[in-house]
Amino acid sequence: MRYYIINSEGREVSFDLSYVRESESKSKVFRVSHAEKPKEYYVKEMAGKAFISEDEKTWSKLPRLYSKKGLVNINETLNVYRGFKPSGLKGVKAGNLVTEMPGKVIKVMSAEGAIVNEGDTLLILEAMKMENEIKAGVSGVVKAVHVSEGQVLESGSLMIEIEE
């Protein structure tokens, strides 16, 4: 199975992972094919838990990842895709203000056509009971405001676009 691991900046690592065989001591052997020579890992299931080793002597716990989809978010900076590579993954421009977390727009402090300087507060977003000032990352002209006061936003929503 091919794996794609993509971090929040869009950097990507892909490698092939396959189940090879059962070892003599009944470990599952996996092979990772990546860059230079392939690497083998042993996995043993014991007492309801899984453990991983490179030499079948030194082991560490392989924590369970609860996912039914072949896609799992790791620590939110990494996404692991199993078997397929998603389309449309890319970073955003400096002038685009995107939510980092779900939240509610409390106040919009700028409008289309306004001239803004880097560091100006353009919007107040309430998330997790905190008011967060969302500031301009560049100086320029507000091209579009996509949100209005009171609106509830998902993570990753484009709120304001600034033309440098």
Partner: protein, 477 residues
């Protein structure tokens, strides 16, 4: 006789309270809401009630609905936890009118201590030193500026009804004061239902030191020594210790600050668990900040070093029962305890990072306690506080506790969301913290967050993929 006790809260504190309720032989009643259909605390509750609504205003802050459910379900007593209605005088009074016991202090104490201006005045009258500042709620930015100019910048703007760092901003200049005034009013109104704001002197290089109070309805007031909570980000505590490393072996100072806290508790006829918070300068002078008239997030470290179950005793006090101890001399410090708040947030920016937990595992050590509300599949929602667990380690002395914290952080595994675990790992290796030399400026000055590694090793990436593959094989079995 067994009482039906309603827990008006959620998350780890609802679990903590439910355990204490059942340990005392009572019936634990808990809520589920439309925006949290599967709250983990219900596992510990005997009776489950539906609190209708999709946000906190409609649910945990909705007195009318809660009072209706209390009447319909023969509730004898209510434990409010922390946050939400825990320090709302109105709620306490309404319960009193309905003949229901509020598990907290008398409403007089809540009212007086809940108002920063009044509490400051009462503290002064009781001989408790206070930080210079406005004598009460200020009308507008202009008045704030006048006072700030009198006492000198930097000053702190605070919600009159606030707590826990919410509705609080430092202002270094007249400009900043002007700019922040309305924001603090808004946060105060939305978080605490009261837009009142006050202004006070901001003490440089301070320590946040607080004293735990536990009192019964018969006039017995005890202290359970202090906690130091100086490691803070955005004015919210992330690491707490008991006893305070800054007070250290200065037992006279410890005695003085604890006795000062008792004085204030006596002044308001305190009769429950509560905390008197102080700010302590580099010269060891200390000033009263506020009194929290509820059980606090960081109560476990005090439980660990004193061996006293604060939540159980808070319930016993409210029911008019005897406490588990009769004199101050029965309460002593044994060892050192540290709490790490585990929060769903980016470990570098420290911004909240809600999401769904994809993996969860931890180990137990001698001296460890982990109060949490997580399970694999648990969704951390932006509606609630990002704090999802409290890792508490006790050792015979501070360096032993630190050794234990390091080991337990190593094995704390939460995936799918970002947490501040990597930040804790950095802090517990950082020399200033390890030496016990830190102030409330620790995070902003030492910047341990800059040493958090954000990228995984390549071999770790492979491990993640293998974990997912194993999961796939399990499913097809």
């Amino acid at each position: 006789m067994s009482k039906r006790i309603l827990i008006c809260n959620r998350g780890e504190i609802a679990i903590r309270v439910a355990r204490a309720v059942k340990e005392l032989g009572h019936i634990a009643v808990g809520f589920w809401t439309d925006n949290e259909l599967e709250p983990p605390h219900l596992e510990y509750c005997d009776v489950w009630l539906h609190l209708e609504g999709n946000n906190n205003t409609e649910t945990y802050l909705n007195m009318d609905q809660i009072l209706k459910l209390i009447k319909e379900n023969d509730i004898d007593a209510v434990h409010p936890g922390y946050g939400f209605l825990s320090e709302n005088t109105n709620f306490a009074k309404k319960l009193e009118d309905a003949g229901v016991i509020f598990i907290g202090p008398n409403s007089f104490a809540i009212e007086k201590m809940g108002d920063k201006a009044i509490s400051k005045q009462m503290a002064q009258e009781a001989g408790v030193p206070v930080v210079p500042g406005s004598t009460g709620e200020i009308a507008d930015a202009k008045e704030a500026l006048k006072i700030a100019n009198d006492i000198g910048f930097p000053v702190l703007l605070k919600a009159v009804a606030g707590g826990g760092g919410k509705g609080m901003r430092i202002c270094n200049s007249a400009d900043e004061l002007d700019k922040n005034f309305e924001a603090v009013r808004r946060e105060a109104a939305s978080s605490f239902g009261n837009p009142g704001v006050l202004v006070e002197k901001f003490i440089v290089n301070p320590h946040h030191i607080e004293v735990q109070i536990i009192a019964d309805k018969k006039g017995n007031i005890f202290h359970c020594y202090e906690r130091e909570c100086s490691v803070q980000r955005r004015h919210q505590k992330i690491i707490e210790e008991a006893p305070s490393p800054f007070i250290g072996e200065d037992t006279a100072l410890r005695e003085e600050i604890c006795e000062t806290a008792i004085k204030l508790a006596q002044a308001v006829n305190y009769d429950s668990a509560g905390t008197v918070e102080f700010i302590m300068g580099e010269d060891k002078s200390f000033y009263f900040l506020e009194m929290n008239t509820r059980i606090q997030v960081e109560h476990p470290i005090t439980e660990e070093i004193t061996g006293i179950d604060l939540v159980a005793n808070m319930i016993k006090a409210a029911l008019g029962e005897e406490l588990d101890f009769n004199s101050q001399s029965e309460i002593s410090i044994n060892g050192h305890a540290i709490e790490c708040r585990i929060c769903a947030e980016d470990p570098v920016t420290m911004l909240p990072a809600p999401g769904k937990i994809a993996g969860f595992d931890f180990t137990s050590l001698q001296g460890m306690r982990f109060d949490h509300c997580i399970y694999p599949g648990f969704e951390v929602k932006p509606d609630f506080d990002p704090m999802i667990g409290k890792l508490i380690l006790k050792g015979s002395k501070r360096e032993v506790a630190i050794r234990k914290v390091r080991e337990s952080l190593k094995h704390l595994y939460i995936d799918g969301i970002k947490t501040n675990t990597p930040l804790h790992r950095v802090i517990f290796e950082e020399e200033n913290f390890v030496a016990g030399k830190y102030t409330t400026n620790y995070i902003s000055e030492i910047k341990p967050q800059e040493n958090v590694l954000s990228l995984l090793e390549e071999s770790e990436l492979f491990t993640k993929a293998i974990a997912l593959e194993i999961e796939g094989m399990r499913e097809t079995l």
